[in-house]
């Protein structure tokens, strides 16, 4: 890989005496001082640079480069709070420099939104400008990748190539992506995606659902910056409460698993990976399990689960209570919950009594049916009682707006109650329009809302899985096996 680092082979022939020079001696050319090969900057420079330079060629004829250039410029000018420099190699864009050398101030991140050949031509120049990290958008073959890696000699970190969705940091407004109008709101979910498209789908859905994102990064062909390093960085980033990874294959499995395991000790890690029909995926799956990462099936589940993990506490047990204003959805929720390995809680007598004294009509067996006339008051009282019950680990609250007297305004009051408790609660509003209404009320609260009991149950399951991780971290380390086993002997 690093052929150009290799020393020249030792000269074997004896050195002949040099012939006497006939021509006049030329002045000695002093080689330009090259910075020594260094270990490489931290990937932090990708997300939190002081100063960004976007390098493009606005009149380039080929491919996506000009569009990407304009998008990045547009995104940054709209949202980025720091300083952005624009270099247009074509010299046509207004307010842009024509040469990287023109930049006198510190720039740590460079976005190379150039066609293939121009990236290779300019990568050295950009590295010389003192940047610490680069986002490279076009894709390359093996040989050209090697050329790209030349920039690493100066310690510059390379994201990509083929990272068209680039980097987003919602705190600073940094957004180098190809896509415009897709800046998610600030929140606690960090996203790493190898695929640009899957990453874009996650962002798109997060925007639609109003789910807050802290940072986003699209890896592309990862000749340098890889999953392990990003997981490691995000595990130490206080803005990220949950780390989501959409991935394919990793190069160094052990390095990845170690990073994943260390991160999962600190915060929940959610993983999406395609390929379940292949044998090798079994090993990946085992690795995820050992690292205590939570594997999901698709993009929707990834955000469903991550949203719950970002907003709700880990769940201490499997025992669930279902509170509903309609019977049918509650029964469906029971099935969904069982499918995820959760069980119905048996309510404490005190809880049942507390509910009965105030509302004798409510059937306080689990699932608790509030009846179609239930309003916020009934929900409030029942939830207060249930959440204080030591036999209860988590709650599914179902509120059907259709076929009942419940109003969307009741949801505000319900959300207020739920804020005060430290047990996981998820909300289900089955249906279409009514879900949109409920979701609109709840999206800015700490209660995740889902349109089906299945989605809600999977979210609770993830909260339980993370609860187990927390218990495991507290448990003493497993002793090493060294002695002969006692068990297997004479029979």
């Amino acid at each position: 890989m690093f052929k150009f680092f290799k020393k020249k082979p030792m000269r074997k022939k004896p050195i002949k005496p040099k012939p006497i020079r006939k021509r006049p001696i030329k002045p000695k050319v002093v080689p330009k001082r090259v910075a020594p090969i260094r270990k490489g900057y931290d990937v932090k420079a990708l997300f939190e640079p002081s100063g960004v330079v976007i390098v493009g060629a606005s009149d380039a004829k080929t491919g996506t480069a000009p569009a990407l250039f304009r998008s990045a410029v547009d995104n940054m000018s709209r949202t980025y709070k720091g300083k952005t420099y624009i270099i247009d190699l074509s010299g046509k864009m207004e307010g842009a420099f024509k040469d990287v050398k023109k930049i006198r101030e510190k720039v740590e991140l460079a976005v190379l939104a150039l066609p293939q050949n121009l990236v290779l031509k300019n990568v050295k120049k950009v590295a010389d400008a003192g940047v610490r990290a680069m986002v490279v958008s076009p894709s390359y073959g093996q040989e050209q990748r090697r050329e790209l890696l030349g920039a690493k000699k100066q310690g510059v970190r390379i994201l990509g190539p083929n990272s068209t969705m680039g980097v987003i940091n919602t705190r600073t407004g940094l957004n180098t992506s190809l896509e415009r109008e897709m800046m998610p709101k600030q929140g606690g979910i960090a996203i790493i995606s190898q695929s640009n498209s899957v990453g874009a789908a996650v962002l798109d859905l997060a925007c639609l659902r109003g789910i807050g994102i802290s940072k986003f990064v699209s890896l592309g062909d990862k000749i340098d910056v890889d999953e392990a390093e990003l997981v490691n960085y995000l595990s130490n980033d206080d803005d990220a409460r949950v780390i989501c990874i959409s991935m394919g294959d990793v190069r160094d499995g052990r390095k990845f698993v170690d990073a994943l395991r260390a991160a999962a000790e600190k915060k929940p890690v959610v993983v999406l990976r395609a390929g379940i029909a292949r044998l090798e995926d079994r090993i990946y799956d085992a690795a995820f399990k050992q690292a205590r990462a939570i594997r999901v099936r698709d993009v929707e589940e990834m955000l469903d689960v991550a949203n719950a993990l970002a907003k709700q506490p880990p769940m201490a047990g499997d025992k669930i209570v279902i509170i509903s204003n309609a019977h049918g959805p509650a029964v469906l929720a029971m099935d969904a919950m069982h499918r995820e390995g959760l069980t119905l809680a048996k309510l404490d007598e005190k809880t049942v009594k507390g509910i009965f004294q105030r509302y004798p009509d409510i059937d306080a067996a689990n699932p608790i049916d509030l009846g179609m006339e239930a309003r916020a008051k009934q929900y409030e009282l029942v939830m207060k009682n249930v959440l204080a019950d030591p036999n209860v680990d988590g709650v599914i609250v179902i509120n059907m707006l259709k076929s009942s007297l419940l109003d969307v305004d009741d949801m505000r009051a319900i959300a207020e109650v739920l804020k005060k408790f430290k047990k996981p609660v998820v909300d289900v509003a089955m249906g279409g329009e009514s879900y949109v209404l409920v979701h609109d009320v709840l999206k800015d609260t700490n209660v995740p809302a889902y349109d089906s009991p299945e989605r809600a149950s999977r979210a609770l399951k993830a909260l339980r899985m993370y609860g187990r991780v927390k218990e495991k971290s507290k448990a003493p380390p497993v002793p090493k096996v060294t002695k002969k086993p006692k068990a297997a002997r004479k029979r």
Partner: protein, 238 residues
């Protein structure tokens, strides 16, 4: 660690013989150094030696053909079990030699291994392979059709914690067979987890071993242990 040193010495003695694959009795020696319970097995070059070893190991014994060219010993009818007398052993020896000559005439046969007989129990498989991405990886499955037909196996990266081992055992679909169903007592899952953990630890600490297959491992009823009845180990090239 003393066990590691002995294992490495053992491995270099095999390498000195220019072999990559250990014979069954060698593989069993190696894993028993690592604390994995296995049936006592010794190599007998001829019939007299077989009889002598059988007496030492104590009847009943099992005889299996010993040849670097034969991996599936029962396929060439090279296994005889439940031998309880000198006469049995003598007959079995001749029979195995005849069978092998008939079924695999070109095989280089060193003799037979004489092994301790263990009563039947629930059979499982514990294996280890080197994954190109993740390195040493431990496999577990229930024996026979469960592995061959149902592909009912689970994996974990080596080394494993006790929780990892217990989790990978409980993950296979046939798990209820081990916990005890229809009046059958539960199997010694702790002893099995111990073997799995030790295989994982061996794989992680001794990278010279690239493939390991304990098939079958007999798991006895709870509290009575588990034992590797057959073992195969392949070393790294060079």
């Amino acid at each position: 660690m003393a066990a590691k040193k002995s294992v490495l010495e053992f491995i270099s003695s095999i390498k000195a013989k220019k072999r990559r694959e250990l014979l069954e009795f060698e593989a069993k020696k190696l894993i028993s150094i690592w604390g994995i319970h296995t049936t006592h097995a010794e190599l007998a070059h001829d019939v007299q030696e077989a009889v002598k070893l059988a007496r030492e190991i104590k009847y009943p014994v099992v005889l299996k053909v010993a040849s670097p060219d034969i991996i599936h010993k029962s396929d060439v009818r090279g296994v005889k079990v439940g031998l309880s007398s000198e006469l049995d052993v003598k007959h079995a020896f001749e029979e195995i030699m005849a069978n092998v000559r008939a079924n695999k005439p070109n095989a280089n046969v060193l003799g037979v291994t004489v092994q301790e007989y263990v009563p039947p129990a629930r059979e499982v498989v514990v294996g280890m392979v080197h994954d190109k991405t993740f390195g040493p990886t431990v496999m577990f499955g229930l024996g026979g059709v469960w592995v061959d037909v149902m592909k009912d196996v689970s994996f974990r990266l080596a080394p494993l914690t006790r929780d990892d081992a217990l989790e990978m055992i409980s993950e296979v679909k046939g798990y209820p067979l081990l916990t005890g169903t229809r009046g059958a007592p539960p199997a010694d899952i702790e002893a099995l987890a111990d073997i799995i953990q030790r295989v994982g630890q061996l794989a992680a600490e001794v990278p010279e071993i690239v493939e390991m297959d304990l098939n079958p491992v007999f798991v006895f009823d709870k509290g009575k242990g588990a034992v590797a009845v057959d073992a195969r180990i392949v070393l790294r090239e060079g």
